[in-house]
Amino acid sequence: MNITLRVWRQKSRHETGHFEEYEAHDLNPNMSFLEMLDVVNEQLTKAGKQPIAFDHDCREGICGMCSCVINGEPHGPENKVATCQTYLRSFKDGDTITVEPFRAAGFPLVKDLVVDRSAFDRIMQAGGFISVNTGNAPDANAIPVGKEIADQAMDAAQCIGCGACVAACKNASAMLFVAAKVSHLNLLPQGQPEKSKRALAMVNQMDEEGFGACTVTGSCEAVCPKGISLSFISKLNRDYLGAMLFR
């Protein structure tokens, strides 16, 4: 199939960017979106031009490294898949596809489609962990965890930290990410001792990084490649309120 790409090109944060158009011919519909970018980059390199910079790593939907807003939707048109698992068969032959970087004050642009998502790392460093004294690994089943709680915690733990929630939100809010990370640990017995401290620290770091507030539009949930539920945001609101009032 043949595709026309309109890609955001920007040398660095300090220069102005613009869209550039590329024609990609004879593509296999079973290529992933990133493989198509590889093909275009090969052409560009052969022509002595700068290849398009884009983020990727595992290419199997588990690392959270790929990004891009494809035709106005983070991670493209399919539900619950990342860009790396979006295939050209999701588009039509002859389509023009617009590709932009995630746009948020909290995700400063690095180059072309690459943005700096280390704000998420700093939010994790603020409280996305459980403090345990070192020693022997405890017995796996020493702490009983109810099935329902374990399932919910694992649903939250599915978050791969890609930042699509921020990219989709009209307020560039990181609430879905923070909610997933806080809930994952706050649901489990191992997370209880630091529950309040974690909610306060991670939300405060989120605010400091310049992300917006939640208006409950539901865009984040709709684009999340892992289908993280909006209900975790409600839980974060609850945990933070409790921490604020009673800690």
Binding site: V69, G72, E100, N171, D207, G218
Partner: protein, 225 residues
């Protein structure tokens, strides 16, 4: 005091203020509608009810200042959130899909601001009696303020009724999203009740719209005269 500062410093804190003040206003609009619907019971019912509300100045002004405070808090946190939220995006997308975001959820600021201008007009009109000074001279046989005649006379102007009905449409829009979002902001929604709360909020918005609009419509159609 520390709690108050923390409340307005954090994004979640501002949403708690937004949701709590919104919740009080929601309860008020429901009660206000139930009071207003007495228009359909005739002059005696509504005039008696109005006199009863004004019987004790302490209670009246207590309630009024409470409501004013809620509107103030709601507006103040809305303004703070608006600034933070627009700073958080900076560069806009060239192409943006709305993905799941409802019209109501994207226009909370607009519906809120127009609602606020309606509230100001409404208070000047029927509370402060500034728009039509003849309202102040209307008294019924028992010497009470003739609220019934005032409302009929006010709504017989098509532009008053029109603005009123339009504003009630915006209230419906604001609450079809807001009355559900407030449960989310206060941490009361979960996987089990979210569909119910979303549906209940939309139903509430619609019921309020129909209830409030029925009065000016009845006046315009000369059902109430």
């Amino acid at each position: 005091m520390n709690l108050l500062v923390a409340l307005f410093k954090s994004s979640l804190g501002k949403k708690y203020v937004m949701a709590l003040s919104g919740a009080v206003l929601v309860l008020f609009v429901i009660a206000h509608l139930l009071g207003n619907l007495q228009m359909f019971l005739g002059p005696e019912a509504i005039n008696k009810y109005a006199a009863f509300l004004k019987a004790s100045p302490e209670v009246l002004w207590g309630a009024r200042s409470g409501l004013l405070l809620m509107v103030g808090l709601h507006l103040f946190s809305a303004a703070l959130l608006l600034r933070e939220n627009s700073d958080a995006r900076q560069a806009e997308y060239e192409k943006k899909d709305l993905v799941a975001a409802s019209f109501a959820s994207r226009t909370m600021i607009a519906s809120g601001i127009i609602l606020f201008s309606f509230v100001v007009f409404h208070l000047l009109h029927y509370t402060a009696l500034q728009i039509d000074p003849s309202f102040a001279e209307m008294h019924d046989a028992q010497g009470r303020h003739d609220v019934y005649r005032m409302v009929v006379s006010g709504f017989s102007h098509w532009w008053v009724s029109g603005f009123y009905i339009l504003s009630m449409g915006l209230l419906c829009l604001h609450l079809s999203h807001g009355a559900s979002a407030m449960f989310q902001s206060l941490g009361l929604k979960n996987e089990r009740n979210r569909c119910f709360i979303d549906g209940a909020a939309k139903t509430l918005g619609l019921v309020l719209f129909i209830g409030y609009s029925s009065i000016p419509l009845a006046v315009l159609l000369k059902v109430v005269k």
